[in-house]
Amino acid sequence: MELRKNYFADVRKDDLHEIGQPRPRSDSPGHVTGKTAFFADRSFPGMLHLKMVRSPHHHARIRSIDTSQAEKHPGVVKVLTAKDVPHNVYTILILIQIGPEDETVLADGKVRWKGEAVVAVLAETERAAQEAAAKVKVDYEVLPAVFDMEEALKPGAPLVNEYHGQNYYLYDSGECRKVRFGDVEAGFAGADHILEQSYQSSPIEHAPTETTGCVVAPEGNDRFTCYTNTQAMFFTLDNTSIILQMPGSKLHFVGGTVGGGFGGKVDVIVEPIAILGAKLTGRPVCFVYSREEEMQISSPRAAEKVVIKDGVMKDGRIVARKVTGYTDAGAYSRHSPYGAQKGAGHYPGPYTIPNVWIDTYCVYTNRTPSSAMRGFGVTIGDFALEVQMDKLARLIGMDPLEFRFVNAYRDGDMKAHRQPTEGAALIECMQEASRAANWPVAEKYMAMSSYRKGA
């Protein structure tokens, strides 16, 4: 890695003692000796293992659940169903007033995705829990499922989630989050060329080497200590408090050493049910996702569809950009309504475009609920935007790198969401890339700056 200090030297002081120094990481000695304690490195005498009975169907009504054989299985201590969960219908973003509550901790009457948690089995050993889970009988009436976002938005599509009432998240702005800036149709009308293209992704897993999980120990004082690899301690504690209708003061969360997160450990999934198990049995409880669960049950990065329509001039200026983004939330909201609206705030990318129209939708389908991941709301959009930029440049016969200089945002430029640009550095990154990759651009671009005089 090279630090290029010649850029922005005029706005930076390089006289610090500790900042900017390549100090050794204080946690590494623990890592290389195997001494670092991850949550699963704690075990307690009498600890129970929790295994989840999951839906084999993408969408089904639950006619009945029979746990009697599982309860009699040797080694089984407790079997939990929806009725055991004090506040079974929840949504994590309710803490920042993004509702409605739309997800069940344990399925109640219906399952909406293949893999949804239905019954929790707590037993003395993992094997006993697995054997008992196989004995839980659930009678399902299979319902039509929808997997394609466009199909889901059509009238008459199977309704995925009754708590929403339609297969999209209803923002205060309506069926989508909107950004309107300038007059996009006038921009298209005056453009030399129009290019409309569609981009698609499929779900992506964080795939941390350590799977999601927690170990819960009941303390003698009516409190519960939860060793967890959550990415957000109080987010998890406060949601658990709501789900279990238990004062937060009864909960003690210990974490902070996580075997990779990448956004995959911000959902509140394992902790509430494990703590409930510990509360109802008085025993320590361990609930750790198997690798298969991590890969297919834990929330992935959402699949997205992005449609971009651009109006561009022969000289390279983009004069109008319309973006329609669809985020495949799967069966429940989790963080997806936030991600979709974060996308609305990110488009049209780091370019100054006078006429912009953005609609971003959060769509429900019968698949594993998606949630946050590294680059949440932005990564797939950037793929779409930057491939579109390449196509536009070739359409008008410009060098793709030079084309970006023409449109790059600079300090003071007004963004579509009506914030002036501050601290821009796109131009300098491109100038340095031009040098590093031996991709020459015209001298006028190498002479550009993100600064604007007087800005």
Binding site: M1, E2, L3, R4, K5, V11, R12, E18, I19, G20, Q21, R23, D27, H58, I96, F147, M149, S173, V179, R180, S198, S202, P203, E205, T230, Q231, A232, M233, F234, V254, V258, K265, R291, E292, M295, A303, Y338, A344, G345, P350, T365, R367, F376, V378, T379, F383, E386, V387, D390, Q419, G423, A424, A425, L426, E428, M430, E432, A433, A436, A437
Partner: protein, 334 residues
């Protein structure tokens, strides 16, 4: 058979933080009797090295070496609230909270030192090595060790501070979408060079040259870790990863590391990382959040390079050999 070569570029920016939800983080700092400093947080270290960075930020602010700072974090009984580690917010939000707390603690420390040295606190400075000096008269000094002892056992002062950094929630305006979705933005530009086997659709990423602008590299080696690993993940996203290979069909989802594809140690592109620093106005020592954005520009850069190599556009991720081969066959048929 032809191995065809191409290159592509992409440029991106990335927002720091979770403004649309309201974004607070708190920190507490206090000294021990012998002048070591404890930072108490509830932020989570996912492996990106938050604990180390918070120690360096606290050390810089107090004016002691980093090895005199201990970070106690992610215990809800002791650490004050943090929204969480996501949205590239950890360094920025928690770092600002630590600076505020450390400044308050530093002020008490200087006041105690001033009493010991019989000067005004405003005339004192730290040398970064654990000593407090009178500005312009460095021979007149006291160690932070002695100041902490004095504070604890003689002056009855708590060398401590509280930090709270809140980005208030921005509510998007319903009709126009006017909002403040982020604080500062990090930037990147990546040039990728690939080879495509036009008989199998297999892609080899030969080189990626990444330029990242991240505000301030608080610890350059740790920044390098993030950026190198992120660049790998970006290539991985571009060419390999998905839980639903036949999306929207739900069948054949991978359940292990054999089936969930990511580049192995034999698939690594020659990776160049260049870092620029335009300090952000609101970041801790100018830092922005580099953790997420570093994995983004490789995806379109690789996609554009594939087009440059073989003349087909793959607008669906991941850009698998199958998608390329199908496109090449369609191209040949036309």
């Amino acid at each position: 058979m032809a191995i065809r070569r191409g290159r592509g570029v992409a440029a991106i920016n990335y927002p720091t933080g979770m403004n649309l939800g309201g974004d607070p983080t708190q920190a507490l700092v206090h000294s021990t009797p012998t002048g070591n400093f404890m930072v108490t947080l509830s932020s989570v270290d996912l492996g990106q090295g938050m604990k180390q960075i918070m120690a360096q930020i606290c050390a810089e602010t107090i004016g002691v070496p980093t090895d005199r700072v201990v970070v106690d974090t992610a215990d809800t009984d002791t650490g004050p609230h943090c929204m969480g580690t996501f949205a590239s917010r950890g360094t920025h939000r928690a770092g600002n909270a630590v600076i505020q707390a450390a400044r308050e603690a530093r002020q008490v420390m200087l006041e105690v030192a001033a009493e010991e040295l019989e000067v005004n606190a405003s005339d004192l400075e730290t040398d970064g090595q654990g000593n407090i000096l009178v500005k312009g008269a460095p021979q007149k000094s006291i160690s932070i060790f002695d100041v902490a002892l004095s504070a604890h056992f003689k002056r009855g002062r708590s060398i401590s501070g509280r930090g709270m950094f809140l980005i208030p929630r921005s509510y998007p305006e319903k009709e126009t979408g006017a909002m403040k979705p982020s604080t500062c933005y990090a930037h990147a530009c990546t040039v990728a060079e690939v080879e495509v086997d036009d008989e199998t659709g297999e892609v080899t990423v030969l080189t990626v040259k990444n330029v990242f602008e991240i505000g301030r590299a608080l610890n350059p080696k740790m920044v390098e870790q993030q950026l190198v690993g992120g660049s790998w993940m970006g290539i991985s996203h571009a060419l390999y990863e998905t839980t639903e290979p036949y999306y929207p069909n739900r069948d054949h989802g991978g359940t292990d590391f054999n089936q969930y594809l990511m580049p192995g140690p034999g698939d690594l592109a020659e990776t160049e990382i260049i870092v620029l620093e335009r300090p952000s106005a609101d970041g801790p020592y100018g830092a922005k959040g580099p953790g997420e954005m570093c994995a983004n520009p490789q995806i379109p850069a690789v996609a554009n390079a594939v087009f440059d190599a073989v003349g087909v556009r793959i607008d669906t991720l991941p850009i698998t050999p199958e998608r390329i081969l199908r496109a090449l066959k369609a191209q040949a048929a036309n």
